[in-house]
């Protein structure tokens, strides 16, 4: 199980990515995240909803009530235009950070 605080904002990035596929309800997001990560990433569900609330306030996602496939009412979240942009930004930022981490790990030079 990987803590979502591993890198700041990772959870939000992952949620953005998940929602870029299709609108989803909260539980669905958690399921999809686990599934996509090959069960490596297990979302602390307790932090998922506050994160969604924060993203809503920032205008990255919006929500609406829809019926599920088996006719239950659920709140679906979807990406806004700003969310799309944010996803690209966060993704670039994340890649830079991860790249930097790899660079550190791969360091073989001496101490100057």
């Amino acid at each position: 199980m990987v803590d979502s605080s591993l890198l700041q904002g990772t959870l939000e990035l992952l949620v953005l990515k998940t929602l870029s596929l299709e609108p989803m309800h909260g539980w669905g997001i958690a399921q999809r995240l686990e599934q996509m990560s090959g069960e490596v990433l297990q979302v602390t569900q307790g932090s998922l909803y506050p994160a969604l609330q924060r993203m809503k306030r920032k205008g990255w996602v919006r929500s609406e009530w829809r019926s599920t496939d088996n006719n239950r009412r659920a709140r679906y979240y979807m990406l806004t235009a700003r969310g799309e942009k944010q996803l690209a930004l966060e993704r670039a930022g994340f890649e830079r950070s991860v790249g930097a981490v790899f660079q550190v790990l791969a360091w073989s030079g001496g101490v100057s």
């Binding site: 539980w27 307790g46 909803y49 659920a74």
Partner: protein, 899 residues
């Protein structure tokens, strides 16, 4: 109130707060459902599946709470919950809440209405363009001690020509001139003010209708040449006299019998120099008039200057002084040096009402402070009654900050309706105040409650809430659950710390209240002193009727004398008239003109100045009951039939007692001769003094009588006279006025009666300012005293209750009821005496602010201090008497059993 109920209440409020919360609940329930279902699919039994789902989510409630936090509205939600809680808890004790709201409302209301007056009169800038650049100029004459004198037109013209610091220099006539307007349905007397042609444009005010005066317009000249005088009306006159029609512009009327024409109407908001002005007349002088000496000596106008851009008031004053000094050297009168000074127009117009108004504001502020202390004490006692409840909540983990906030919110919840009531009462109080203000005391007659006044009320309310709210809040900060629960478990009542604070508050209240009562007492004593003052005449059963004869129809002494002789003869013949006479001035209203004088046979440098002059008919002394101290009264024989202006041997005069004492010490003035010239010559009019009469106070009851020279109206006629009529015992003199009016109409239908007033009212008017201040101060002091006594009562009662077990024990051991009575009384008295001592000490420092307002007594008048102290001690005794008596009547056995 139980903690569980409170928490349940909060929980419910939390869960059913709004749609957001309901939706959140549904969302999380859906999540749980899905997760549980997934777990079941993995083969768990339903109960275990549900438990795991909840674990995974980290608890439904915690998650919900975290989401609410993420909404970022948490603080507001808490706050609004606390506000609701505060209001609910206040509504549970309606009597307490109503008392506090009422006390606050009265305090804030009274403060707001006094402030509205201060704002309207003192603080609000004059509604003119850049009013801070407007300054009034005056003359001073160091030799005679005359300060801030009206300026003479000649000096005004010199200044206008030479002082470069002034961008503009105009002038107005300070006193109202009564003008008779005819040509309307009925003759009318209106109050006019003279202004120079550019006056309004200098102020930056344009007429609402019609046009402004022009520099060329000159009333005096117009009158002489029988041209046409332009008039500008106030909006009030325009509405009330001319029906508010625009066609008024160009309307011809007659003013004092000469042709005049309405040329303009000023805007509604314009009032200068006071709100009592009905119309304005142009005035101006040709610059050649400066050659005449009289023109330099006729102090008749107030010049107003607008500073040139970039010039400071100090620079302008220096230039004015320098130029005036030089002019005085060139052409001045060596016996009368002229100096000049200036002051901001606004401060000048506010004048001497500033001090009384600020005294009232301070007094009402003190009253509000007492109200706050009172409410603070009440809240403190209430909070300490809940100390146990607070302690339990602290023990259960409630943040102290939250408790402090809650108690402060409760204060705010009290302050809001208190402030609202205060604004309502304040607006009503403003209207009452307008009615109470004596006529002519203030420059404005309406006090508008504008945004500044409302802002003041809000600030005062907030400050009050902070003052009284901080007491219980401080208590909450100090709550120590262990101690409180232990102490509270034993009995009832407030903790020792609380008692000390409440005791201190009551001492402060008594101190402030004694300060106010002392101030009010001083004013009341001052009025009593004023009432002792003999005005010099007997005002009972006398009415005065004022007449102005227009110069056009009454051009000279023969016509004027004939009119008044005939009128007086008819008035005296009326049934119900004891006697009647006429005088050119009325005592206590305004002194007549003054002049220099010389007494025959004295050295040239022994002339006198500033003798007040008036003209009266025979019979005045009898009608007004002014005593004749020496010589004789005027008779009908003291009248000329011709040759009024020629030097004659048979002119006579009366002088008053001060004049006899000052200028004829050890001599008999009767038979001596006097002239109103400083340097007598062949043309001088010499008068023989035929009598000495008692002093009448000329301008105000509080002003000592000035020297006065009285001439018989048959020798020195005046067009404007006051007819004084005395009626027999038991009659109201005002009832004779219609009959007099009818006689005037018979003689001259075009003549209006200017004014009819009981002399009693004239006397009362001259004390009106002092009475107004005393009434208001006494009212504030009474409220303050009642509040302080309620405080004393509350503390005594609480102390008596707390010591009941001790009293029971004492009585069981043989103490009598009166010992208990004494013990309780002593406690109350300690508070009163402590407060009184502080109040008296403060008063000794502060009451000197009243010295300009008091008459005949010192600001530290010992009699007032003794009486007020006695009164306060007696009142304090009474307030602690009730609880003391209750304590003394206890049944010791019952009390001890109850322990």
């Amino acid at each position: 109130m139980s903690i569980r109920a409170d928490l349940q209440e909060r929980l419910r409020a939390l869960l059913f707060r709004n749609r957001e919360d309901i939706e959140l609940e549904e969302e999380l329930a859906f999540h749980m459902e899905q997760e549980t279902a997934a777990n079941v699919r993995r083969g768990l039994d339903p109960r275990e599946a549900r438990r795991r789902a909840a674990l995974r989510l980290g608890g439904v409630d915690r998650t919900a709470e975290a989401v609410r936090d993420a909404r970022g509205t948490r603080l507001l939600e808490d706050l609004s919950r606390d506000v609701q809680y505060a209001f609910r808890s206040l509504l549970r004790t309606p009597a307490f809440t109503a008392t506090v709201v009422l006390v606050l409302g009265i305090g804030i209301g009274a403060t707001t209405s006094i402030y509205s007056a201060v704002q309207s009169v003192v603080l609000r800038p004059l509604p003119f363009t850049q009013p801070e650049n407007l300054h009034v100029l005056w003359e001073s004459h160091p030799e005679t001690g005359i300060e801030r004198e009206l300026a003479s037109p000649a000096n005004y013209l010199d200044w206008k020509e030479r002082v470069s610091s002034f961008a503009e220099l105009e002038a107005y006539g300070e006193s109202l001139s009564q003008v008779t307007i005819t040509g309307l349905e009925q003759p009318l007397v209106l109050d006019g003010v003279l202004v120079t042609g550019g006056f309004f444009s200098m102020l930056g005010v344009r007429p609402l209708l019609g046009r402004d005066f022009t520099e060329a317009e000159n009333w005096a000249e117009a009158t002489w040449r029988a041209g046409e005088t332009p008039l500008i009306l106030s909006a009030r006159t325009w509405r009330s006299v001319f029906g508010g029609e625009e066609s008024v512009i160009g309307r011809p009327v007659q003013m004092n019998g000469v042709a005049a024409r309405v040329v303009g109407v000023m805007p509604e908001t314009f009032a200068f120099p006071t709100e009592h002005v009905d119309l304005w007349l142009p005035v101006g002088w040709p610059s050649e008039a400066r050659e005449a000496t009289w023109f330099r000596r006729a102090h008749s106008i107030r010049p107003v200057a607008r500073l040139a851009p970039g010039v400071t008031a100090g620079e302008a004053a220096a230039e004015l002084a320098e130029i005036t000094g030089r002019l005085d050297g060139e052409q001045g009168d060596p016996g009368m040096r002229t100096r000049a000074g200036m002051a901001p127009l606004h401060a000048f117009l506010v004048g001497d009402v500033r001090a009384p108004l600020l005294v009232l504001l301070a007094a009402v502020g003190v009253m509000l402070l007492i109200a706050c202390a009172n409410v603070g004490g009440l809240l403190l006692v209430r909070a300490s009654g809940r100390a146990r409840d607070l302690a339990v909540r602290v023990a259960l983990g409630s943040g102290r900050g939250r408790l402090v906030r809650q108690l402060l919110l409760e204060s705010v919840a009290l302050a809001l309706p208190g402030g609202a009531l205060g604004v309502v009462l304040g607006v009503a109080g403003t209207r009452v105040l307008e009615r109470l203000v004596p006529h002519g005391f203030l420059r404005v007659t309406t006090f508008t409650v504008d945004s500044a006044v409302l802002a003041f009320a809000v600030t005062v309310t907030a400050a009050a809430a902070l003052v009284f709210g901080s007491f219980p809040a401080l208590l909450a900060r100090r709550v120590s659950p262990g101690d409180t629960l232990r102490e509270a478990g034993r009995g009832f009542g407030a903790s020792r710390g609380t008692r000390r604070v409440v005791g201190g508050l009551v001492v402060a209240e008594v101190a402030l209240a004694s300060l106010l009562v002392l101030g009010a007492g001083l004013l009341v004593r001052s009025i009593a002193e004023l009432r002792q003052v003999e005005p010099g005449f007997d005002a009972e059963r006398v009415v005065a009727v004022t007449l102005n004869l227009p110069g056009v129809r009454y051009p000279g002494p023969p016509q004027v004398t004939a009119f008044y002789d005939e009128l007086l003869a008819r008035v005296r013949a009326l049934p119900g008239v004891e006697s009647a006479a006429a005088s050119s001035t009325l005592p206590l209203r305004a002194p007549g003109p003054t002049s220099d004088f010389s007494i025959a046979g004295r050295r040239p440098d022994q002339y006198g100045t500033e003798v007040v002059r008036r003209s009266m008919t025979p019979g005045y002394l009898e009608t007004m009951r002014v005593p004749l101290l020496a010589g004789r009264d005027f008779t009908d024989a003291d009248a000329f039939t011709d040759g009024w202006d020629a030097p004659r041997r048979d002119r006579v005069a009366l002088i008053n007692e001060v004049m006899a004492r000052q200028f004829f010490p050890g001599q008999d003035p009767v038979g001596q001769r006097i002239t109103t010239d400083r340097v007598p010559d062949a043309d001088s009019q010499w008068r023989t003094i035929v009598g000495v009469i008692g002093n009448e106070r000329q301008s105000e009851i509080a002003m000592p009588p000035r020297i006065e020279l009285i001439e018989p109206s048959g020798q020195d006629t005046e067009r404007d006279m006051h007819i004084v009529v005395r009626v027999p015992e038991g009659d109201d003199p005002i009832h004779i006025v219609p009959a007099v009016r009818a006689l005037v109409r018979d003689l001259d239908p075009a003549l209006p009666l200017v004014d009819a007033v009981r002399m009693n009212d004239v006397v009362a008017d001259s004390m009106a300012r002092d009475r107004f201040l005393a009434i208001l101060l006494a009212a504030f002091a009474t409220v303050a005293l009642v509040l302080a006594l309620v405080g004393v009562y509350g503390v005594s009662a609480e102390a008596a209750r707390r010591r009941l077990p001790e009293f029971g024990l004492r009585m069981a051991l043989g103490a009598h009821g009166r010992d208990i009575l004494r013990l309780t009384l002593e406690h109350g008295l300690t508070l009163v005496l402590g407060g009184l001592a502080l109040g008296v000490a403060a008063a000794l420092l502060v009451t000197r602010l009243l010295s300009g307002i008091l008459y005949g007594i010192a600001p530290t008048d010992p009699i007032t201090f003794v009486i007020v102290s006695t009164l306060l001690i007696a009142a304090g005794m009474a307030a602690s008497w009730l609880p003391a008596r209750r304590a003394a009547r206890i049944d010791p056995a019952g009390i001890l059993r109850a322990q």
